[in-house]
């Protein structure tokens, strides 16, 4: 086991070099499912962004676009982004979108997690709810936008309900499957230790599902962004989506790209927050993959 090698005996740089010399370049880097030196992982990760930026710069320089309308360079986009924040009140749009995501997602999660857990543990609940949930899940949330505008108009509720539709039905089924995967023996042991059905439920069954439920939340909040931006592009006065739509009318592709990249950054921040929550709340979870 590599963990048992004292750190002093295996300085990372030396071990990587030694490993390469002993095993050869091909074997070190191209053995399926085999770890490569840590320094290489970091280099490749940063390198991919460098390659993307280089290709982008090259493409915008090559495409004939004298007024920089359709193929702005990375530099132009960055300048537009700074301008948006300083003079276009872009942060207020970011704030509105973030508020809608958090509110819509919280409402969906608060409803979906308990229902999913109940569906996963009680066949009587599952038999009733699973057929409609599985059916509605295949209806795209964005298809509901026109209907909701007719029914309730253009206010905040419309955006929250779109997010809710997009998240709730998916999340319910994910949580249900998590609950169903709790091993029977874990519950049976508790029964033979004298636990009542209620105690088995909240002392064994619930805690057994928590880490995976947080994983499911982490995945579904990403989808919420897609539905929100669509809703905002269709009809909204504020928010990143409406900012994108207005930019389109003024032929400002640099601003559109800057706004899209901003959503990516917000997604990364959310993901990091969920990752930290997971590490803080569930230190006992075995890491299957790094």
């Amino acid at each position: 086991m590599s963990e048992r090698v004292p750190a002093t005996q295996a300085a990372p740089a030396a071990s990587a070099r030694v490993q390469r010399r002993r095993r050869g370049l091909l074997r070190t880097y191209l053995t399926p499912k085999h770890a490569i030196p840590r320094a290489m992982v970091v280099t490749l990760g940063i390198g991919s962004f460098v390659v993307i930026l280089a290709l982008w710069t090259w493409a915008s320089a090559t495409i004939h676009d004298p007024q920089h309308l359709f193929a702005p360079s990375p530099r132009r986009v960055f300048n537009a982004w700074v301008d948006m924040i300083q003079h276009r009140n872009f942060l207020s749009d970011v704030g509105w979108s973030t508020f809608r995501i958090v509110a819509g997602f919280l409402i969906a999660a608060v409803m979906a997690v308990p229902l999913g857990l109940l569906m996963g543990s009680f066949e009587i609940v599952r038999s009733f709810f699973q057929p409609p949930v599985s059916f509605i899940r295949y209806m795209p949330a964005s298809a509901f936008i026109p209907l909701l505008i007719l029914l309730i108009g253009l206010d905040e509720n419309e955006k929250l309900i779109i997010i809710w539709i997009g998240v709730f039905f998916q999340l319910v089924l994910m949580v249900m499957h998590i609950a169903q995967r709790v091993p029977d023996e874990m519950l049976n042991v508790a029964y033979t230790l004298g636990a009542s059905r209620w105690k088995v439920f909240y002392k064994v069954f619930l805690p057994a599902t928590f880490p995976e439920v947080v994983d499911a939340l982490r995945i579904t909040i990403g989808w919420a962004w897609t539905y929100l931006i669509v809703a905002e592009i269709v009809a909204a006065e504020r928010g990143i989506g409406s900012f994108i739509l207005i930019s389109e009318r003024f032929l400002r592709s640099d601003r559109i790209i800057a706004a899209i990249v901003t959503i990516g950054i917000l997604g990364l921040i959310t993901d990091t927050i969920f990752g930290l929550i997971h590490r803080w709340a569930f230190p006992y979870v075995e890491k299957v993959h790094r």
Partner: protein, 263 residues
């Protein structure tokens, strides 16, 4: 007094191709303080029998009596240890062991005293606050056994507890278990398909037949106690072993023939 008695227990499962008879007419009594092993080929229903004893599965016919009282549902009087350890990964070793005591609302000081004693006895010193993920297979199973013992059950039910361990660890665990039994004298019902394990641990061995599971033979193990690992090489051990192997071989051949006949 805590004996466990099976009275005419039978188990049938309905399937699409008709009824499967898993267990048939099982009657046996494990008296107080006896270590009873059930050996049989895989699929003979020995694990089902144990689940019925635990009250986790309701038999089609017959009943299980603990000290003469019918046991229809699981209870703290019948502790169970599974092959898969089934520890609670979110609890430390200590809190896993104290789980049953917490359910019983044992005061904290008493809980700590008992878990500390078991942690020492099971050679888990230094791991009290560790999570199960940090433990080896053998250590996990020691925690599972400690968790069952902490509850002070009348009967200990063990379903191939060492089946997932490597041969060397298994041997050490068998020695630990026989020492534990010597100390606590619990009534134990131990299911295994490892013949050496059954002889080494048991006072009596029940050999089961293939589907439908039936009790074929009862064999008394007259090796002296307390037992240690030198006995595995004794002539008497070898004699018992060849007896059990002979019976099981005969049964397995019958099973293969009946499968061929059906095909």
């Amino acid at each position: 007094m805590s004996e466990i008695r099976f009275v005419e227990v039978a188990m049938r499962f309905p399937t699409r191709r008709g009824e499967v008879r898993a267990l048939q007419q099982i009657s046996l009594t494990v008296p107080d303080g006896q270590f009873a092993c059930i050996v049989g080929p895989s699929g003979c229903g020995k694990s089902t029998l144990l689940s019925i004893a635990a009250g986790l599965v309701v038999p089609t016919e017959g009943e299980v009596l603990v000290d003469g009282m019918p046991a229809y549902s699981p209870g703290a009087d019948r502790g169970m240890v599974f092959q898969s350890y089934s520890l609670y990964p979110w609890l430390s070793v200590r809190r896993n062991i104290e789980f049953g005591l917490e359910i019983k609302r044992t005061p904290k000081a008493e809980r700590t005293r008992q878990s500390s004693e078991l942690i020492h006895l099971m050679k888990l010193d230094g791991f009290a606050e560790a999570y199960p993920k940090a433990l080896s297979g053998g250590m996990k199973q020691r925690v599972a056994i400690a968790r069952a013992l902490a509850n002070d059950p009348e009967v200990l039910l063990m379903d191939e507890p060492f089946g997932a361990l490597d041969a060397l660890t298994r041997q050490i665990m068998q020695e630990m278990l026989t020492d534990l039994w010597q100390r606590y004298r619990k009534t134990v019902l131990f299911v295994t398909h490892d013949i050496d394990e059954a002889i080494f641990l048991g006072d009596v061995i029940y050999i089961m037949t293939n589907r439908p599971g039936r009790m074929r033979t009862t064999l008394n193990v007259d090796l002296p106690r307390p037992r240690n690992f030198e006995m595995v090489t004794s002539p008497r051990f070898a004699e018992l072993r060849s007896q059990v192997v002979g019976i099981i071989h005969e049964e397995s051949m019958k099973a293969v023939e009946s499968e061929l006949a059906r095909a």
